[in-house]
C-alpha cells in the first residue's frame, strides 16, 4: 500500500540543543518501537513544537477559564446570534442552518441524568444487560493502580522488584530541570539514619542519609545525568561507564552530563521505556515516562506545585510489636527482651521496655532507628 507523506515536518527548533539530531533520522513523531510497549526515542521539546504547529493558538491551547457565556443555559439571544455567525463562518453554512444546528445538536439534546437521580441506584425495571451486570458487580471493589498523566510529562518511579506496581506517579513540566524531579522523589532510603543508638537513644541523629549521600543520577538513552549541584556529589555513573568500556560488552558509548543543566524538554527519550534513577550509591529505581501531552486548562495551573505527585502506592506500615498500634520507629537485634530478631518497636514501647525510669540501659541489645517505607503514606 502506498503510504502518503506521513512524516512531513522536519525537526525544527533544535538549534539550542547540545546534542545534534540523532543520526537515526529521528523524526519527532512518537511511534511504537515495540507495539503497545514503548516508542522510539524522540526529542521532547521538538515533539511539543510539532503539536503547537498543528493547533490554532489561543483557540486550542489557552489555559484560561471558559467565559460565562460558554455555559449552557445562560446565554441571551444576542449571544446566540454571535455564536451562530461564528458557526456559519467555520462550517460554511447559512445562519439559519447554524441556528438549527444549535437547536438540534445542542447539549440539552443529550439525555442526561435528571436532577435528583443517583447513578448508583439502578432501577429495578431495567432490561439493559450491562446494568444487570453492574448491579452484581457493585459490591466488588477492585482497585487497580492507574497511571495518570502528568501535565506535559508523566513519570513514575517504581521498584521493579516489587509487584510491578508503580510506587509513585508524578507530573512534571517540560520546562523543569531533572533535579527538580530528583528532589521530589521520596524514597525511604533517603531517610535512613545510620548508627547504633542503644546507648544514646535520645540523641536525635543529625543527618539523614539524604543529607549525607547526595549523589544521584538519571540514566536516559545512553546518557548518565549526574547531580553535581553540591561539592560532595560524586559521579556514581563512572563505575558503570568504566565497567562497560573495560571490555567490549556490546554497549554503545555512554555519555555523562549534569542533571541540573537539563530540562525535560531537552531530553531524548522513549515513552514507556524503563530508565533508571540511582541514589544513595546503590538504591535504584526504575523510571518510566508513561505519557507526554500538552498542558490543559483543567490541569493544576500552579507551577510551584510541580513536580506534582499524583498517585502513590500505599504500603503497609510495620507496627510496633508491643502495642500493635503505632508505626515502628526502632528495630533491635540481639535483644534479650525481644521475642524475635529483629524486632520492631514504637518509640514509647521501646523506651518502656529497654530503659528504666532514669534512662539507663537495661539488658543487652542493639538498637537502630527505623524508618518505615510506609512513612510517606
Amino acid at each position: 500500500m502506498a503510504e502518503g507523506t506521513r512524516i512531513g515536518p522536519t525537526c525544527h527548533g533544535m538549534g539550542s540543543r547540545q546534542d545534534p539530531v540523532s543520526s537515526s533520522g529521528s523524526c519527532n513523531f512518537p511511534e511504537y518501537e515495540l507495539p503497545e510497549l514503548n516508542t522510539r526515542a524522540f526529542y521532547v521539546g521538538a515533539f511539543g513544537e510539532l503539536w503547537r504547529g498543528r493547533l490554532r493558538g489561543e483557540g486550542d491551547l489557552s489555559l484560561k477559564e471558559p467565559q460565562a457565556s460558554a455555559l449552557p443555559g445562560s446565554q441571551g439571544v444576542a449571544e446566540w446570534g454571535q455564536e451562530d455567525a461564528a458557526v456559519a463562518r467555520d462550517l460554511g453554512c447559512s445562519l439559519e442552518a447554524a441556528a438549527e444546528l444549535r437547536a438540534v445538536c445542542g447539549l440539552d439534546k443529550l439525555k442526561c441524568l435528571e436532577a435528583g437521580e443517583d447513578p448508583e441506584v439502578i432501577p429495578e425495571d431495567t432490561d439493559l444487560v450491562t446494568l444487570g451486570v453492574r448491579k452484581r458487580l457493585l459490591e466488588q471493589r477492585e482497585e487497580t493502580i492507574t497511571i495518570d498523566r502528568v501535565c506535559r510529562q508523566e513519570t513514575f518511579a517504581y521498584e521493579m522488584h516489587k509487584e510491578h506496581k508503580p510506587y509513585q506517579t508524578m507530573l512534571v513540566l517540560g520546562s523543569q530541570k531533572l533535579t527538580e524531579l530528583r528532589d521530589s522523589i521520596c524514597c525511604v532510603s533517603d531517610l535512613q539514619i545510620g548508627g547504633e543508638f542503644s546507648n544514646t537513644p535520645d540523641q536525635a541523629p543529625e543527618h539523614i542519609s539524604k543529607d549525607l549521600y547526595k549523589s544521584a543520577f538519571f540514566y536516559f538513552e545512553g546518557t548518565f545525568y549526574n547531580d553535581k549541584r553540591y561539592p560532595e556529589c560524586r559521579d556514581l555513573s563512572r563505575t558503570i561507564i568504566e565497567w562497560s568500556e573495560s571490555h567490549d560488552r556490546g554497549y554503545g558509548k555512554f555519555q555523562t552530563a549534569k542533571m541540573e543543566d537539563f530540562t525535560f524538554n531537552d531530553l531524548y527519550i522513549k515513552l514507556g521505556f524503563p530508565y533508571l534513577y540511582c541514589h544513595q550509591g546503590d538504591c535504584e529505581h526504575v523510571v518510566v515516562i508513561t505519557d507526554i501531552r500538552l498542558v490543559h486548562r483543567d490541569d493544576c495551573l500552579d507551577r510551584t506545585l510541580y513536580p506534582l505527585l499524583i498517585k502513590k502506592h500505599w504500603l503497609w506500615t510495620r507496627k510496633c510489636f508491643v502495642c500493635k498500634m503505632y508505626t515502628a520507629r526502632w528495630v533491635t537485634n540481639n535483644d534479650s527482651f525481644a521475642p524475635e530478631d529483629p524486632c520492631f518497636f514504637c518509640d514509647v514501647c521501646f523506651r518502656m521496655l529497654h530503659y528504666d525510669s532514669e534512662g539507663n540501659k537495661l539488658g543487652e541489645f542493639l538498637a537502630y532507628p527505623y524508618v518505615d517505607p510506609g512513612t510517606f503514606n
Partner: protein, 330 residues
C-alpha cells in the same frame, strides 16, 4: 471509590469510542464514533471532565476528516466536532495510550469489527489520481524529449523506442475498469440508499436532515469511487495542463475498444487478482484515449482512434447530477 470508578470508566469508554473514529473504518462508522464521543464526553459524571486523547500521529487524519465533513456538508457532525474542540475536550498527547512497559500484562488486541471497515482497495491506493497524473506528465515529457533529440522532429528515432507508447493509457484504463467493477459490485445497495433518501422528503427538519444525510452519503460513496474528481494541480516545472476528464472515472468501458499488448497482460497479472475472470477478458480490450488535443504541448502522434468525446460527456453528466443534489441541502 466512586470517583475512581467514574474516572476509569469514562477513560475506557472514550478510548474505545476513539478507536472507531480513526481509519480504517468507514465514513459512516467514523461519524457514528464522533457522535458517541460527543455523547460520552458531555454526559460523563467526572468532575473535571475526562478528556479525549489524541495522539500526534492521528491528528492529521482527524483534521482531514473534519474537512471531509465540511465539504460533504455534514453540518451536524462538523458542528459537534467544532463544539468538542471549542470545549477543549481533547488532550494532545504523544501516544494514544499510556505506556508503562508492562510486559507481563496480556496485551489485548483490539478486535476490529470487519464489517465496519472500509474495504481495503489496494489497487486504488496504489494507483491514485496523483500517481496517474504524475505518470502522464512524465510520459509526455519523455516523449517530448525523444522528439527533441531525434533527427526527424516528427518521429522519434527507432533506437529510442524503448517503452510501450500506450503504457499510460493502459494503466489508466485498467484502473478505471477496476473501479467500475467495484461500483457494480456495490451498486445494488447504493441505488436503494438513494431511493430511501428521496422517499423521505416530507417531514420535520430532522427527517429532512436524515435524508439529506443519506443523499450526501450516497454522493460521498460515488465520489469515493472516482479516481479524480478535482481538477489537476499545476506543476511548476511542467507546462502540461491536464484536462480533468482525462483521468476521470469515466464509466464508458463498455464502449472502449482495445488492442492486445504484452504489457497489458503483465499489468493484468498483478492488478487483476481482484477482478473476476469476466472482467479480465474485457480488460484485454483496453483502449487508450487520445489526450493530445487537450494538451498545450506539441502533438504526439498515437495509433488508435480517440474516445475522448465520449468520456467527456460521461464526465460532465455525473458532475451535473452532483451539483443538483448539493442545492437541496441546507
Amino acid at each position: 471509590m466512586r470517583n475512581l470508578e467514574k474516572n476509569m470508566f469514562t477513560k475506557e469508554a472514550l478510548a474505545l469510542a476513539w478507536q472507531y473514529f480513526l481509519p480504517p473504518y468507514t465514513f459512516q462508522i467514523r461519524v457514528g464514533a464522533l457522535y458517541l464521543l460527543y455523547g460520552l464526553y458531555n454526559t460523563q459524571l467526572c468532575q473535571p471532565k475526562q478528556k479525549i486523547r489524541v495522539a500526534l500521529k492521528d491528528w492529521d487524519e482527524v483534521l482531514k476528516f473534519q474537512q471531509d465533513l465540511i465539504n460533504a456538508q455534514h453540518f451536524d457532525a462538523a458542528y459537534i466536532f467544532r463544539k468538542l474542540r471549542l470545549d477543549k475536550a481533547f488532550h494532545f498527547t504523544a501516544m494514544p495510550k499510556l505506556l508503562s512497559y508492562r510486559m507481563k500484562k496480556k496485551i489485548q488486541r483490539a478486535e476490529v469489527t470487519e464489517e465496519f471497515k472500509d474495504p481495503n482497495d489496494r489497487v486504488m491506493k496504489l494507483i491514485t489520481s496523483d500517481v496517474l497524473e504524475e505518470m502522464l506528465n512524465v510520459h509526455d515529457h519523455y516523449q517530448n524529449m525523444k522528439h527533441i533529440i531525434s533527427g526527424d522532429k516528427s518521429n522519434p528515432d527507432k533506437a529510442l523506442s524503448l517503452i510501450k507508447d500506450d503504457f499510460f493509457d493502459n494503466i489508466k484504463n485498467i484502473v478505471l475498469e477496476h473501479q467500475q467493477w467495484h461500483k457494480d459490485r456495490k451498486n445494488p445497495s447504493l441505488k436503494s440508499k438513494v431511493k430511501d433518501g428521496e422517499e423521505k422528503r416530507e417531514g420535520n427538519s430532522q427527517e429532512s436532515e436524515r435524508c439529506e444525510r443519506a443523499e450526501s452519503l450516497a454522493r460521498i460513496k460515488s465520489k469515493a469511487f472516482s479516481v479524480v474528481v478535482q481538477a489537476s494541480k499545476s506543476r511548476r516545472h511542467r507546462q502540461v495542463k491536464l484536462d480533468s476528464s482525462d483521468s476521470d472515472s469515466a464509466s464508458g468501458q463498455g464502449q472502449i475498444k482495445a488492442t492486445r499488448k504484452k504489457r497489458n497482460k503483465e499489468t493484468l497479472k498483478s492488478a487483476g487478482r481482484k477482478m473476476s475472470s469476466k472482467n479480465r477478458d474485457n480488460m484485454q480490450n483496453v483502449h487508450k484515449e487520445d489526450k493530445s488535443l487537450r494538451l498545450s504541448m506539441p502533438v504526439i502522434t498515437e495509433e488508435e482512434e480517440d474516445n475522448e468525446s465520449f468520456s467527456e460527456t460521461e464526465f460532465t453528466a455525473p458532475k451535473r447530477k452532483r451539483k443538483s443534489r448539493t442545492k437541496n441541502l441546507v
